[in-house]
Symmetry: C3
Subunit: 468 residues, 3 copies
């Protein structure tokens, strides 16, 4: 079970050879990771990774949501609870349970990434199963005890050129400061993600606002203060290398409110009595503000649209957010982005990168919009679609109308640090497969394809995110 | 035109060989048919099948809807009318008309199933056409006159292990009783389908309720009585082997009403003055009740969502329901199932099998939901999507997020008894094709694939529907 | 870079051979173009084409929208402005700019069509780039100076049997008259497109109505007058060979209003005070009227549904309509066409050809509707989907439920005259690819496939549009 050099490519010999030829051209290019969720602390403090269960299973909701779907309680998987419910603490026992159900992952991207990670990162070429579970645990543990498996060593071995984290506007970015101060040359940069500050109907909002007040060192009592504070924090993020912002939103609805309207909504928020409609309008208006600020300070604006968070209230209340029960909803862009694109979409100073979890938007709305507006670019296949079939569908539905040159290459968006090489390698292989098919049909030639595979693997993310 | 042993598989030699190797492992497994519309009378009374036209064409709206779409009146095809309009009665003439237009079915699943059925069931390897129409009619007629072509003989020859019918809660299940009493060992079981009892705004509802009253032997004058009656009938269905319920619904909207609300709606229904909104809420509430009952009595809960019935009122009023003019509508699950899944979706005693006719739900909502909630499973590609491309799209859009282990294998859902082997064989071939591609790309290995093909063909339906 | 004879086909040798065998059967059939936007003046006056930039780039929003999306101002591409803003007039300079960015088109249908057009029409086998831009400009210019490159000569060389233009009901069709009077045998026919007359809330509507009044020679002061005028103009269009009408509409919503309602809306329109809802209802009602008229006069009724025009107001106000910023929206057909299909869908005298830009409608709604209603046919993959992947998805999602015989073959829908052969050739190659796959899987045999490829390339458009 060592990794086949031709994996992912179409098995037809001619296409396989073409894909391999293209893949070889980018296989060893550095990894640019312009959006993700790795903890900056890992690279600031460079601690050894804990045991295999804590490294691989417990932080990865892709893994335990599937085990949960087959009836395994999250408590048995050691997922920490908020309400004090005791959970399994024997990590070897959890690992055994995982191994006993490893067949569930066959055909899923998680199964593929794990196989890659075990083999390429840890030199384990067996498939995990009930019998070898403990011996594989031993092998992984032995690796993790060595200095070559500390975060910075892996960062270098993975050939990561840029790694972007995701951070609250109020964050002091202490780990980013430490990384810079340490002299270690790895480029780890923050991304400005203000969601919690824009969700004004949530009970935690006042707390978020207080954190922002503290971060900027003054009180915020008007919408104007709020905007000024955000602008300050964006500037601060830039001093630590930030090139982008990000927003996770249920819909892409945009609307510019009048000064009076937005002031009044903000006052309602301060008093804790916003209506659901006001909460929606606030986000619609903040999308306009974020676009305006991006034009002014040059940060790339990203939006991730269309996931209903924490669908399972029972899991949410016991285990908290990001536990595998976020479920996509249908979304719309043509009308929702109308106001934003008409206000700012013709301005080449803006870069708006749009991600969706609803594939029906690809060919219908997103490709036509990105194939017209100078400001708009298409984010990579996201979340559930960050997979062989998902990435292929993305290319097939986006390329003809938008051209690959209005896309931004691959985004791993992961919190699983050791899966980063597997994910980027898969993306490069899928792109090689896609382009080989175009060459095989004489829709493009190898000169085109070589330029395109390099653009997707490296040139586009570097250029769109202004990383050189 | 005898059936090619490698049909359906990818023609590329390596993939074809892999697919064939996988297919061989399940080719001869017994057929489990956990949902369908075969008349139990056939297997109770075991009559000879009537002539070819009555066997193949007249009951199959897949066939005559396409002939109708090309301008052939249903009257000319012998479809019985409700309003007394005379129809063609010369079955050889109808057969000739069918043969004259047989080319219309090229590339449709009906065309493929018919070719399989003619060849594998009846030994006819020619393609039907204007010239051979009558001689093929003769050959089919000769077959049907023989005892080996009676329903029970075919049931055994088809290697059917379980066949599920679809039945009204008020049905006395007399044919199921007869089958059991006959000593014939074929396993034919009912499925509890209460749609007509839940559509309280329909003029026929009082009649349906009267039938239920008669079935339980007492009057139903409150919502409480109604629920008790349903529970009794579910228990009765179980005595005859039932393992499941089914509901056909336009939307999956679920909502638990208060006792007062639901009582009041039920009283309005009894008085015949429900509003359209009340009728919708009644179904939304009954979905909650059905889930609760399933948790209590263990029947698997199935829902088939998103088809607008009897779109063509002219055809409906002359010919009745199920005449090929049911048309899908867009559906939604993330928000619609929110209440049901939050109430019961974490309970492993519930199995909720969801079918949709809207493929946009596959990757966006259904796979993420089934890949999280322990109670949820994904029904097979349904109706229009029970086809080569349809089943392949289902696997491609569902597997990566949900894993095949949250699906339930194949469901033929047919009223065309003689097409059952063709349909299951096609499903097994499509799954072999899909899995061979994964093996060919090294996304899985043959050990995985062998386990998966067997799960899809046999183990999953057996397990999910609790059939052993 | 001469065109590969096997381009587009699957590279797998067996499938490639099958596809080629099928393609050869239709490769040289005449082109039927039942819907498009070529100017009839070209074929009436038969002028030499202007220079390459004016021939290829300036009229083709497929080309310049992509250049615009990458930050090139339309002014620099010589797109004429409405507001007097000066634009680049040096066509060699524009051509150079185009060539400098030619790589953007790799993998887009425009890129493929251009390669075909350069090679097959103009004998230029090099790929356009910065270096050869001027020499290719020279070669193209030299061609255009020759009589063999005048419109009528190309029409004949392209082997066009019928070319349909798109025309306002008020148009005098003078160019169509001239073509007929000229003795030249090319068949160029008009199509009746009344959109501007049905958009009663637009400020230009009164002007459109005035033009209609002038065309029919009497004043229009009631809805009855309006209908009579339309009927007259349809009759006039028929005298010049018209076989069809067309409507571009945002939604397919249909509703028959009462005489009072429609009269009242029409009076509001005359007074210039219609509400948005009245404007929508007017179109919903006019769809019913157009279907009725089609039944009476035999014109095929086409609808193109679901594109929001002129999304970019800045581009629209400076450059006008059809400038590459029309963006699709989600659409629905099952409920929207309910009233029209129930009123007229069973009438075989009606042919309703439906085009959508929302692929989610294909398998869900359109194929089931066309696979049932005698009056309904499926228009070809439209606009953004007129491409290799787009046409393949169309066949894959439509064929199984609707059968190819409820489709209408290919529609080029282009204003780029010289791209017509490239587009029809691509469609034939895609269909050959699709059918070869069905043959390769033994879903159909070569006899079926031969009939089907011919139907798609020639027989279906000829029959559906009543062209022989």
């Amino acid at each position: 079970m060592s990794l086949d050099p031709y994996r992912i490519f179409d098995p037809e010999p001619k296409l396989r050879a073409l894909a391999y030829e293209l893949y070889e051209q980018v296989q060893n290019l550095p990894i640019i990771s312009p959006h993700g969720h790795v903890e900056p602390r890992l690279l600031a403090e460079n601690p050894p990774f804990p045991d295999p269960t804590e490294l691989i299973l417990i932080p990865d909701h892709y893994i335990y949501r599937l085990l949960y779907s087959q009836g395994i309680p999250l408590e048995k998987l050691g997922i920490p609870t908020l309400d004090g419910t005791p959970v399994e603490t024997d990590h070897r026992k959890i690992w055994q349970l995982f191994a006993d159900h490893y067949h569930l992952f066959a055909g899923t991207p998680t199964g593929y990434w794990l196989a890659h990670e075990f083999s390429a990162v840890f030199g384990i070429h067996e498939k995990l199963n009930s019998t070898n579970a403990q011996s594989i645990y031993d092998q992984l543990s032995a690796c993790l005890a060595q200095p070559e498996f500390r975060p910075r060593a892996l960062f270098e071995r993975f050939n990561i050129e840029v790694l972007t984290t995701t951070d609250s506007p109020s964050d002091d970015l202490i780990y980013h400061q430490q990384i810079r101060a340490s002299g270690w040359p790895g480029r780890v940069i923050p991304c400005f993600r203000p969601d919690a500050l824009f969700e004004i109907a949530k009970p935690t909002w006042r707390q978020e606002l207080a954190a922002l007040e503290q971060a900027v060192g003054n009180s915020i009592s008007t919408f104007g203060d709020f905007i000024t504070a955000l602008e300050k924090r964006r500037a601060y993020f830039k001093t630590l290398g930030a090139v982008s912002t990000d927003q996770g939103i249920e819909t892409a609805y945009t609307q510019k409110l009048s000064q009076n309207e937005i002031d009044s909504i903000f006052q309602h928020a301060l008093k804790g009595n916003v209506t659901p409609q006001e909460a929606q309008l606030f986000i619609a208006h903040m999308l306009m503000e974020m676009a305006r600020m991006s034009i002014e300070d040059g940060l790339v604006m990203q939006i991730h649209v269309g996931v209903l968070r924490d669908h399972n209230r029972q899991v949410y209340s016991r285990f908290g957010a990001n536990k595998g029960c976020d479920i996509p909803i249908p979304t719309e862009f043509t009308r929702n982005l109308y106001e934003l694109l008409n206000a700012y979409g013709n301005d080449p100073r803006l870069t708006l990168v749009v991600f969706t979890a609803d594939e029906t938007n690809y060919a219908r709305e997103l490709a036509p919009l990105a194939g017209h507006y100078p400001a708009m670019r298409l984010g990579a296949a996201w979340w559930f679609h960050d997979s062989f079939q998902g990435m292929l569908r993305f290319r097939e539905m986006m390329t003809e109308t938008a051209s690959i040159y209005n896309t931004v290459g691959f985004t791993d968006d992961t919190r699983a640090f050791c899966s980063i090489p597997a994910r980027h390698d898969l993306a490069r292989r899928v792109d090689a497969t896609f382009l080989a098919r175009l060459v095989g049909r004489h829709l493009i030639d190898m000169e085109d394809a070589s330029r395109m595979i390099r653009a997707l693997a490296y040139d586009l993310p570097q250029k769109v995110y202004k990383l050189n």
